[in-house]
């Protein structure tokens, strides 16, 4: 089981991810934007980050850059609901910048859990 940092500016979305992850035994830490996420990760690195892209203060793309610079091994899953571009339009740069996996919202709970398992296994090997 892992310690997972869930970053999303929408509290209800965080809640959904948190409950999904907790119900599978993961421990969850929350952050409401990229700045808080980077601070939380610096204070105590999580095993994995579930990161929204469009957020105030510091968006997900900037957050990926910051995390990757200081923590090259951080595991990051980017999730976007889209915006002016499609969700895919944000997810491609997210992967280029260093997200390990990228998904568009809405994401089925099972899909998220499988993605997390896959990344954690990579880490363990």
């Amino acid at each position: 089981m892992a310690r997972i940092l869930v970053v999303d500016d929408d509290q209800q979305v965080r809640e959904v991810f948190k409950r999904t992850l907790q119900s599978h035994g993961h421990q969850v830490v929350e952050a409401g934007d990229g700045r808080a996420a980077v601070a939380a990760y610096r204070e105590s690195p999580a095993d994995l980050v579930v990161l929204d892209i469009i957020m105030p203060e510091k968006d997900g793309l900037e957050t990926i850059l910051d995390l990757r610079r200081d923590f090259p091994d951080a595991k990051i899953i980017a999730i976007s609901g889209g915006g002016r571009a499609s969700a895919q339009g944000y997810l491609r740069p997210a992967k280029i910048l260093g997200a390990d996996l990228a998904f568009s919202k809405p994401l089925a709970p099972q899909e998220l859990l499988e993605a997390i398992d896959k990344l954690l296994k990579q880490r363990d090997h």
Binding site: Q12, V13, V16, T20, S23, G82, R84, K105, P106
Partner: protein, 367 residues
């Protein structure tokens, strides 16, 4: 003096004190469609559009007959019945005795200005709506994430054989199809600036046909009537396919009992303003999509390309499809026209510049 008046872009009309036309310049003939011979000796009333009140004309006449100059805008009627708006200055000309001998009207046709202004407003509106749609999509997907997440939580607690579980499955499926819809809308709306390439229009249509036949209902028939095989355009194939798909889906909606959609391509000499600015005819590629459906009235046609305008019942359409089509056509530097009448079906015609014309530099693609 007379030569200068003859060469003016402004319309010049000279009347006697009672409003009987004594002189018009060539610009008047061009704009109104009347020849000089047709209007000399006629009253200026032949231009009346019926768009102004009697009080408007009374105020005008009372001002100029008292020796003052009238300036303002007025709507007049051309020979063919169409209306046009012009900015006019009407001045009385006095004889040696100080009596009004003539009136001289110098008028500037505002049609082009008004058309440009409308186009600008339309472009601004589309841009604003595009931004709004992007924002809505983001929030909408977050909401769907919350709905689907909670459906899952409750389902986890229920017996999969229960009615409650079955009801929740319906909510889940509806939320998933809403998610699919937003992702399609965003795909239609996004600009793919870097994917323009030189291609044959017929090839794009042929590729789209396979997709159409899979997506459309079984009672729909799609026929392709290809034009010149070598008609090459500079276009984004994905966007063109989206455009064809959107128009075909609309055509299908217009034929609930099934029917035939005809897609045709070819080249055409464009009847556009470019023709006059480049002094040579401009050939363009066209793509037509015609249905045998219920057709549209004039009001529907006027609002057709507005975002969120829809005639479909709730759940039947978002009203973004044709706005997206319009956006795609704009990005290709093209034009779109619709021909339709109630009960007689609808035909959309898209014209986009041919590659050879782009090489002449006669067209810059709008973004």
């Amino acid at each position: 003096m007379l030569t200068a008046v003859e060469a003016l872009d402004e319309t010049v009309v000279i009347t006697d004190p009672t409003g009987i036309i004594e002189f018009v310049n060539p610009a008047f003939e061009t704009i109104t469609g009347y020849t000089r011979a047709e209007v000399l000796g006629q009253s200026t009333r032949i231009l009346k559009s019926g768009q102004h009140s009697a009080a408007f004309y009374q105020a005008l006449w009372s001002r100029i007959s008292s020796g003052k100059v009238w300036r303002g805008r007025m709507i007049n009627r051309k020979k063919d019945g169409t209306l046009y708006e012009e900015k006019a200055t009407i001045s009385p000309v006095l004889d040696e005795a100080g009596r009004i001998a003539n009136y001289v009207a110098v008028k500037f046709d505002l049609s082009r200005e008004i058309k440009l202004q409308n186009e600008l407003h339309h472009a601004q509106k589309m841009e604003a709506l595009g931004q709004m749609a992007g924002g809505i999509t983001h929030d909408f997907n977050n909401i769907l994430q919350i709905i689907l997440g909670h459906v899952h939580f409750v389902e986890d607690e229920l017996d999969p054989a229960s009615q409650e579980f079955a009801d929740l499955e319906k909510i889940r499926m509806a939320a998933e199809s809403a998610a699919e819809l937003t992702s399609r809308l965003m795909a239609f709306g996004r600009s793919q600036i870097n994917s323009f390439e030189q291609l044959q229009l017929n090839g794009v249509v042929e590729e789209s046909l396979g997709l159409l036949r899979r997506v459309l209902r079984e009672n729909m028939r799609v026929d392709f009537v290809p034009g010149e095989a070598m008609a090459e355009v500079i276009a984004d194939p994905n966007q063109l396919q989206q455009l064809i798909l959107n128009l075909a889906l609309n055509a299908q909606d217009a034929m609930p009992k099934g029917g035939r959609i005809e897609v045709s391509t070819g080249t055409i000499i464009a009847q556009s303003e470019e023709e006059t600015t480049t002094n040579r005819p401009v050939r363009r590629a066209f793509l037509r999509i015609r249905d045998e459906g219920i057709g549209m009235d004039r009001v529907t046609q006027e609002h057709l390309f507005d975002s969120f305008f829809t005639t479909k019942r709730i759940g039947g359409g978002t009203g973004l499809g044709l706005a997206t089509v319009y956006g795609i056509v704009q990005q290709h530097g093209g034009t779109i026209q619709v021909r339709s009448a109630l009960g007689e079906g609808t035909e959309f015609e898209i014209q986009i510049p041919l590659r050879e014309e782009e090489l002449h530099g006669t067209h810059s693609r709008g973004r």
